[in-house]
């Protein structure tokens, strides 16, 4: 409390400081709003195409059978506990946001090792019964080579995004990208006043 009381400006400076703080906060809220920040707390796949470079990933998922069952988060963030889920999501998301903001995205996006582990575990999370089938439980000498050291998509290569994933791979796909930052009511107002 003593620290905070030190920050409180003297009486005659209060008004300008309140205004300045307001500008500062307003700018921050504006940045959060135009970046659809609250959507990042949810699980909607539309959130992932807030950045348009994810359009190929969205479009390919939308045309796969996984569309019916899974959303992006079901595979791409861990589900062992809720804290890890949001920790990983925040870490990964902030990295994505930074790269996107700095325009450092590569032409073809590849998943990083950490992400691979998460996806692999999520494959198993849903498809566990495929791995625990008693017919597959026999342990031969080659178990490491053929069973333990591979990832699901070493064989299931097209699942679900396919093998073509450059940023320009789906030029005409209909993807629910965020539209203009100007809200509709404002556009209406502007076009009305123009007409008048």
């Amino acid at each position: 409390m003593r620290f905070i009381s030190k920050l409180i400006p003297p009486e005659r400076w209060r008004f300008p400081v309140i205004v300045l703080m307001g500008i500062f906060t307003g700018l921050a809220v504006f940045a959060l709003d135009i970046s659809n920040a609250p959507s990042y707390l949810g699980d909607k796949p539309e959130t992932c195409v807030n950045c348009h470079i994810m359009a190929p990933q969205y479009a390919t998922w939308y045309h796969s059978s996984h569309r019916e069952i899974t959303h992006c988060n079901d595979c791409h963030v861990p589900h062992n506990n809720i804290f890890n889920k949001y920790y990983f999501k925040a870490k990964d998301g902030l990295r994505h946001a930074t790269i996107f903001t700095l325009r450092r995205e590569p032409q073809v996006i590849f998943i990083k090792d950490e992400g691979r582990d998460v996806v692999h575990n999520n494959c198993i999370r849903c498809h566990e019964e495929l791995l625990t089938d008693s017919r597959l439980l026999a342990r031969g000498r080659d178990i490491h080579e053929f069973r333990m050291d591979r990832e699901c998509w070493d064989c299931h290569r097209e699942t679900p995004h396919g093998t073509v994933n450059s940023l320009s791979s789906v030029p005409h796909a209909r993807v629910p990208l965020p539209g203009s930052v100007v809200p509709l009511w404002l556009k209406d107002m502007v076009s009305k006043s123009k007409k008048q």
Partner: protein
């Protein structure tokens, strides 16, 4: 502990540092905000095509310049070399396959000619070729109204926007021969500004309104079926809406099941034609593909028409929707196998087995209906009156409506085998009941023998049996195709050259 005011009094440079840090933070926050806006604007520009043509541009090749992959795959609907067990991309003469149909449609133009259609590429050519549109020339009009053009071309929304909906339908089919020359294509399903899917035919909007649904509320996934449902549905021509106009309507006011539509027609007292032999007030079911699909398991699981008939494909480094709209049986890998992990041949056999089994009973119903018409005619000939025939004719109407509903949609047996089976079974029961009533009536007239089943083993025999002079009809059509159609198309292209100066 000193307050910040006191600290600053002693060290004025610290005040400047706080000021500078704040400037830097706000500066970068502003940069971040403008970067977000910039990248969001990018999303709008990068995915909005640089279209220069007007919203109702009917020429597919003009759209194709901007979307070569989609256009080139769409033009593959011109292929006619795929043949599945019952369907495929080639034209199949259905009256030849099943001459019984000619008898079922006696007195209606379908008895002259009924084919399983080819791809969208042939929409104009095939409506010009079918005997149903007649052989109009300057002195003789077509027997059909302009309403028949509604599903055939992106010229249709262009003309509707110009003249209004009812005015578009007005007049006989031949009066728009030079106006409608482009086959089904881009503008039928796409908005020219955004390339989003759009409903270009008002009839679907009106049908949704009649059901109390708002088409603006549907999801993108539903739109991937609804653009097809603009045409692949049951419809009829309503003469009450505008004076002297065959106004196109989907009979969905009570719902989209066969019983819903039947009750709608009954309330309206509507019939498409009166059967030439039985004099029953008949209903002609038109390809109710969408309505049947809605009752199937794929629709219930959220699979749209486009998911199977227009799957995603890749070509080089690009992925796009395959616009070669066709039977998924010709493209099992990209359609069925996206979800179903069975072997191609197994999946195809699954489809065939449904078709085989349903066709078995549909043929029984078809034969029963031929008998119904023949026996009803015999009853009339022996002096039956309207009162005696009323229930029988209504039975024939209801049974044939069920037969036609399942036969007219070529994909029904697969899209919804259980519903299709239910409808056929109901139809058989109704037809048999009508025949019991007919037997009673005939015996009351003192006739106890079997009414002989006509020899309709070929299309020619069946058409002769119902009294069609096919030689004359074919000859007139030949002259029409030779003389009138080239003139229509030539004048149409000339008109386009004038209207769209490059």
């Amino acid at each position: 502990m000193k307050s910040i005011q006191e600290i600053l009094k002693g060290k004025p440079w610290l005040g400047w540092i706080i000021f500078a840090v704040t400037v830097i933070i706000v500066f970068f926050l502003g940069m971040l905000a403008s970067s977000i806006i910039e990248r969001r604007a990018e999303a709008i520009f990068a995915y909005t095509p640089a279209v220069t043509f007007p919203p109702d541009e009917p020429r597919n090749e003009v759209w194709g310049e901007l979307f070569p992959r989609e256009y080139n795959s769409y033009m593959k609907t011109s292929e006619t070399d795929f043949k599945s067990k019952y369907n495929g991309s080639a034209m199949v003469d259905m009256l030849e396959e099943s001459p019984r149909m000619a008898v079922l449609w006696a007195g209606y133009s379908f008895s002259k000619d009924y084919n399983q259609g080819r791809g969208h590429y042939y929409s104009i050519e095939d409506i010009q070729k079918t005997l149903r549109t007649g052989a109009p020339d300057e002195s003789v009009p077509s027997p059909q109204p302009n309403t028949c053009w509604t599903c055939k071309s992106p010229d249709v929304p262009r003309l509707m926007n110009k003249s209004g909906i009812a005015e578009f339908f007005r007049g006989t089919w031949d009066t728009k021969g030079t106006e409608i020359i482009n086959h089904i294509g881009c503008a039928d399903c796409h908005d020219s500004k955004t390339m989003n899917l759009r409903i270009s035919r008002p009839t679907l909007l009106e049908a949704f309104e009649a059901m109390g649904r708002d088409i603006e509320e549907v999801s993108h996934q539903e739109m991937r079926s609804l653009v097809c449902a603009q045409c692949h549905v049951e419809y009829y021509f309503n003469k009450e809406i505008a004076e002297g106009v065959d106004y196109l309507v989907f009979p969905w006011k009570n719902g989209t099941t066969i019983e819903d539509m039947e009750s709608y027609y009954d309330e309206l007292g509507f019939s498409d034609w009166t059967h030439a032999m039985s004099r029953a007030p008949m209903l002609k079911a038109q390809h109710p593909d969408y309505e049947i699909y809605l009752t199937g398991v794929h629709a219930q699981r959220g699979v749209s028409c486009a998911d199977c008939h227009m799957p995603f494909i890749s070509e080089g480094g690009q992925k796009f929707t395959d616009h070669h709209i066709q039977s998924p049986l010709n493209n099992v890998a990209n359609s069925c196998q996206v979800c179903h992990r069975e072997e191609t041949q197994e999946l195809i056999e699954d489809v065939y087995s449904r078709q085989d089994k349903l066709l078995e009973n549909r043929n029984i119903l078809e034969t029963l209906l031929v008998r119904c018409h023949v026996e009803a005619k015999a009853a009339w000939d022996r002096g039956a009156d309207e009162r005696q025939m009323k229930d029988i004719l209504n039975g024939i109407r209801r049974a044939q409506w069920r037969w036609d509903f399942t036969a007219a949609g070529h994909g029904n047996s697969f899209h919804s085998p259980v519903e299709t089976g239910r409808i056929i079974t109901g139809g058989i029961a109704i037809a048999q009941e009508a025949r019991v009533q007919l037997a009673r009536l005939l015996s009351s007239q003192g006739y106890f023998e079997e009414i002989p089943y006509p020899d309709i083993s070929t299309k020619a025999k069946a058409q002769e049996y119902i009294g069609l002079d096919m030689e004359k009809i074919n000859k007139e059509k030949g002259l029409f195709l030779e003389n009138v159609v080239p003139r229509w198309m030539g004048q149409g292209r000339e008109r386009e050259k004038r209207e769209y100066v490059e």
